[in-house]
Symmetry: C2
Subunit: 325 residues, 2 copies
């Protein structure tokens, strides 16, 4: 029992074309006809069916976003930034949680092929480059980390600079033996951070031992485990760089339990500047995550409006010193 533009047209004694023009604010409609149409819309309580609009226009004004885990603070902030831009442009946001599952990811990519979204924002992507390459034939894509695919633009945090900030700071505090703890060692972020770390280590002749390295850590609980392994070692580092504030908070927690004085006995520096780092007084590398989302979305909109954009974009980081270093 939906009202359609045909009924409006009939009631207002104009053609469907004219109704469509009124709805789309086309200038060539005389005032009297416009008023008649608007009145009919009122009286019949017309509500447009946007599936028809999308079909005929060939676009949907929807952006797709895929992330591994919505409730990870990094991604929820990223989405928040993207959402803000979408609101500004009156676009909607189609969100998908992949759980780092390749099938889920591929399934979501179809939304672009199926014309359900006008563009795609990749919070993370585990698909091989050739898949992304093929996908980019179907629409514009922006990746929130270096994608390894030159057909799509990317925005990312300057991980090298971040690691360097952290290490410069620790060296200034007199540390020479510094451990590393990251999340997914195989993700772009993980690889970049590890590379930058070991490069720096070599450049500055820092001490090293394989048992000072940890990966696959994401939670507070993980941090506690890392700390236990670390503090068990007789020859241990005097500081550690940690890829996540949550993990770092776990390490601080365990240090307190074991009575190891921070920062004098052991220093910890995290990444992200999540709210948690404030209460546990953790030094950290602040990542402008919301801004990252905003920038990624803006880049996508530029491309949707046929503007050229530079394909790699980096955001800068800053050091926030608190009492853990």
């Amino acid at each position: 029992m939906m009202t359609t533009i045909s009924e409006i047209a009939q009631k207002a004694k104009v053609s469907r074309t004219t109704v469509s023009r009124v709805l789309n604010h086309h200038p060539y409609v005389k005032a009297d006809k416009r008023d008649a149409v608007l009145q009919a819309i009122q009286e019949l309580q017309y509500v447009p069916n946007f599936n028809a609009v999308h079909l005929s226009k060939g676009r949907t004004n929807v952006l797709g976003v895929i992330v591994p885990k919505i409730d990870h603070p990094f991604f929820s902030q990223l989405i928040a930034g993207i959402g803000e831009v979408c609101n500004r442009y009156r676009y909607s946001l189609l969100l998908h949680q992949s759980n780092n599952d390749l099938n889920q990811e591929l399934h979501f990519f179809n939304q672009l092929k199926y014309k359900l979204v006008d563009g795609l924002l990749l919070g993370s992507a585990i698909s091989p480059p050739h898949v992304l390459d093929e996908l980019s034939n179907y629409g514009k894509i922006v990746c929130c980390e270096a994608s390894g695919c030159d057909k799509m633009a990317s925005v990312s945090v300057n991980h090298e600079a971040g690691i360097q900030l952290a290490l410069d700071h620790l060296r200034e505090q007199g540390h020479q033996n510094i451990g590393l703890c990251i999340g997914n060692a195989k993700s772009g972020v993980g690889i970049k951070r590890a590379q930058a770390f070991f490069q720096y280590q070599q450049n500055y002749q820092l001490g090293w031992n394989a048992s000072w390295y940890f990966d696959g850590n994401y939670t507070i609980e993980d941090g506690i485990q890392v700390a236990r392994q670390l503090f068990r070692q007789s020859h241990r580092p005097t500081a550690i760089v940690v890829g996540s504030d949550y993990v770092a908070a776990g390490i601080l927690y365990e240090a307190r339990i074991q009575g190891i004085p921070v920062p004098d006995g052991f220093a910890v520096i995290g990444f992200d500047n999540q709210p948690i780092s404030e209460v546990v007084e953790l030094s950290t590398i602040d990542q402008p995550i919301v801004e990252l989302g905003i920038m990624a979305a803006e880049l996508l909109f530029l491309q949707l409006h046929d503007q050229q954009v530079s394909s790699t974009n980096q955001l800068n980081l800053k050091l926030i010193q608190r009492k853990s270093t």
Copy 2:
């Protein structure tokens, strides 16, 4: 240059109807024709246009979710739960961030009217009941807190029970003078919690002073301010119930700064059991937020499949005792 089912039909020497049947796994298609169609789909690299599907089917297999702020941990967990269910049912999620702005909210509600989503999940709603009432004529809606609209189902946390758990626990620890700190005093949650608190207070003859009440607090920083105001008072409560772990963490932080011993000098209990509560050793009332999202989404799917559901649903809470009480 899109391939359409017509081209497939031509190539496979069948009708469009048959192609449609193959795509929809309709049983009445002979194997040889089905194969011919599938082959043509392969060769022409056919990709369906789902806007056309949505238009003719009258549904989109998309759920809408609206929340005030995506990166608030409560809502990101809620969305994560919803997203999980959506993945299970192969539905997509259209997400909107309202920033508690009524216009944003109304704008998003149109997605249901416009037939862009099959159902709506309200993470929060500030619209008056009559708006929600009218909206529910356009599709199924589930609200994640008591909505005040009897036409839609709701799932919510049992706030009364939560407050009671917290207060029972504090009384057991010998507290008689207990403060209260909540977020939005005008939201459903805020009202419920305050009511339950004051009811309990009266029932058990607890001490009270108007300066022991705080609202509009959401962040760690807010918590620090609350603590400062609190600790300035000569006649102050011996414990406080706080509606958010973040705010509670701020209070604990300030207590430490001021050298007030916790829990002996002052006890704090939070709500949510966010990760932060673990590292700061905060006692808290655990809210099953992800489960709340899952349940809300499940309820919506039940309704989309024409099943009756009970209109009010509550989830239970549990006390997590740590070192702050």
